[in-house]
Subunit: 107 residues, 2 copies
DNA sequence: GGGCAATTTCTACATTGTAGAATCCACTAT
DNA sequence: ATAGTGGATTCTACAATGTAGAAATTGCCC
């Protein structure tokens, strides 16, 4: 049932961010986690646009956390977890046999 | 000196395809390798458009292989190898601590 | 010198990535 | 009660990447 289309890199990052932040997965927090782990700035608009698209595809859901101010918290759905795993599996096959440590030698 | 912009997923796949096919890395062959490993169809136009963009960024070079028909063979440059390694490193950090095998349980 | 198979180029459009300003929401101090 | 404030989300607009397939090219062989 999983949609055939592959995940974009930011889509993958955002989904991983949601998983990593668990119960606290609302937009601003996902943004912070992504910036922390990747070491790059992430614009908040990018996060929400992506979250909305993921929700439209049925990969995540969102709900207003009752009593938690204006926060909208997200969770990854089964279909999302599946496409994430698939994305990773395909990539792993492509990388198999390539030694990342020796890539710089390809100068 | 590597450009700061991240690689798209297809860009990464194509670069890996070039590395995997080595001396024989011309468009059609990269396409075949990608289809073989990913199990998905890849349109030839997508491959060339991506290859051209990678070349414009200085990540790969191309040359007409003399005596080899109309083939245009590609090779990954140092900057390309670097951005590939960086792309992978960031992703690995994001995946760290997430058990891919248990992702399906996130239903 | 025409046909053929393999390869590359071109064109056009869809999807994803990105930024930042505007808006909303609850809380608090006046 | 309301203006200010910090935190969060929504909106808008555009750039970059992904994708498909038809058209053009190339070299070869008859």
């Amino acid at each position: 049932m999983s949609d055939d289309a592959p995940l974009g890199v930011f889509e993958e990052q955002v989904m991983l961010g949601v998983i990593r932040t668990g119960e606290e997965a609302y937009g601003m927090n996902v943004r912070r986690e992504l910036e922390r782990v990747t070491g790059r700035e992430v614009s908040i608009g990018a996060v929400y646009a992506t979250l909305d698209r993921l929700e439209a595809k049925g990969y995540v859901t969102s709900r207003r956390a009752p009593g938690s101010g204006s926060r909208r918290t997200f969770a990854v759905l089964g279909a999302g977890a599946q496409v994430l795993a698939e994305t990773r599996a395909i990539r792993d096959r492509l990388w198999r046999g390539i030694d990342a440590a020796r890539l710089p030698e390809l100068a």
